[in-house]
Subunit: 332 residues, 2 copies
């Protein structure tokens, strides 16, 4: 996948801000890569970008319409389809984070084909992968891991990229989920590849590179999540990372989607991730903690981070509140 910029972000008729969180993530991390947003009547979300019509966006050079909104029940309304067809007519490609493929909409697929436009269904890998070899490769790699799903692995990886680039380091975010792929303009949705190729897809995503170049690989799931741990382990082996950052949300009552499963102890989670990572990266270790403390008041957040630093002997950051400078310091 090689999704062309700049983007026009389509928010559709999103019923609330959460429904547009994919578009919001793109705007947050790649504002310079977006000409604006397109909202239909009744839309209750915003990315904080200028509202543009399709024609205005085309005039500003938009190359790709980004479907960055969760639709209800997996169905694409007529209004959405009309928007897509018109975008194709105006010269844009379309990239979608929807679960259902836009390439399966006959009218959209036919129009794209006729006009020579590209359709990117980023939840679905568009190529085959080789089986992983596990062989050492050059370059430096960091993988975000977690105590659970949705604890800020993507956000942390992007924050690390921004911080490292600001320091003049060579660093690239490597996306493994839909929002990350739309942000990066490429990547692979590793939880959607055939099981035998999880590690192979990850090796493909983060190939050999310059000795001083960092790949910052977006983790998925958790070794302690009963639904998805296979994906997490395949990623861990394929990433061959020397550095892991453990992501966590303090106070979460149970594992996401599993009301009877407790969140693991952070020390256990560090130990198991390091142990498993060393199969392909013998010196792998956790170099920092990234907490999402958004549910805590500032004093509690500060105390929580301080306590974690003391307990684990690692820099503990909240990418939003404190930035990830302390973790990059540790890497350097």
């Amino acid at each position: 996948m090689d999704i062309r910029r700049p983007y026009l972000l389509f928010l559709g008729d999103a019923g609330d801000q959460l429904a547009a969180k994919t578009a919001y993530g793109v705007a947050q991390w790649r504002r310079d890569g977006c000409v604006g947003q397109l909202r239909l009547e009744g839309c209750r979300a915003t990315c904080g970008l200028p509202d543009l019509t399709l024609e205005e966006a085309a005039a500003k050079g938009a190359q790709t319409l980004i479907i960055g909104v969760a639709n209800r029940g997996g169905r694409v309304s007529e209004l959405w389809q009309d928007t897509m067809l018109r975008a194709l007519d105006l010269g844009m490609d379309i990239a979608s984070g929807l679960h259902n493929r836009i390439a399966d909409l006959p009218a959209v697929a036919e129009r794209a084909q006729a006009l020579g436009r590209s359709l990117f269904d980023v939840r679905h890998p568009d190529r085959d992968f080789d089986v992983a070899t596990g062989e050492p490769r050059s370059g430096r790699r960091l993988l975000t891991v977690g105590t659970d799903c949705s604890v800020g692995k993507m956000f942390t990886s992007l924050a690390l990229e921004r911080e490292m680039r600001a320091r003049g380091l060579k660093a690239d975010f490597r996306a493994t989920g839909q929002t990350g792929i739309l942000i990066a303009g490429g990547g692979v949705s590793v939880d959607a590849v055939v099981a035998d190729f999880i590690s192979g897809a990850t090796e493909w995503l983060s190939p050999a590179n310059d000795p001083d170049h960092w790949d910052l690989i977006e983790g998925q799931g958790s070794l302690f999540h009963a639904s998805y741990a296979g994906v997490s382990l395949g990623l861990l082996h394929g990433a061959q990372a020397e550095a892991l950052v453990m992501c966590h949300e303090p106070g979460r009552p149970h594992m996401r989607g599993l009301p009877k499963s407790p969140v693991p102890d952070i020390a256990d989670c560090i130990a198991l991730n390091e142990r498993c990572a060393r199969l392909t990266s013998p010196n792998a270790r956790v170099v920092g903690l990234a907490f999402n403390t958004s549910a805590l008041d500032p004093q509690t957040a500060e105390r929580t981070l301080k306590e974690a630093e003391d307990r684990y002997g690692l820099p503990a950051a909240d990418p939003v509140r404190t930035g990830v400078g302390a973790i990059v310091d540790r890497l350097a």
Copy 2:
């Protein structure tokens, strides 16, 4: 998948015995479910069953033609296709362990459709799965795990089924790979499901059952295999097994397909499997060792098993040489 018996085993023009190992496995474990074998000119393999023509097999009641042979380069020859078409005409379904789908052969697909026959491409799941819940379910479950791929996990699981049934226990082999599925008449090729659903597919394969019923689940890969460990971990969590049997081939020089990767220490492999299994099955433990000692002379094999028993405090069996009675004793 619900593949009807009895089978006619198709060996094609297999160049050697190894090319027909899938058919051989079916004959070895389900001889009573097979009417005979069908070989084309030049075939150099045998399952030790009567050679039959398609017409003779149909007269003996064959319900399914089993394509139990690896073809060269993934292409199906004209001769094979003629055999398949004639089998459909004679009333048989077809089940194939080939990597390429027989359902993608237009002539075969059309004929099957026209006649109302079923085509089973057992390497490819034919349904969608839910995400795993990890919730406790009734029934007893055993999973074979391993230090590596191809160390006898399927063979051990089937040997356990045979031994337990001979003792009057309720036990069912649950297949997770192509040969196992053809032997069992159903199952799911877990390494071919979408990565997010490895554990979910395993939960589906081994559902809640009577409190005294054993599911004997065929393991895949190894937590220590850099290519496939994600599949192994997803299986381990989805199986929710109380009992694990560690399979191993003494003397193997390196991990299968990875010449630079050493085979893990058995104690490490036991510890990591138990630790990970306990996420969904808190009392999970390794109850026995199953070694493939076929490369060793009888005295060395006997000594190797004895030493392993002493070192690990577990019954150590070679399913072929000693049978798995000692492991079943330990379970009882």
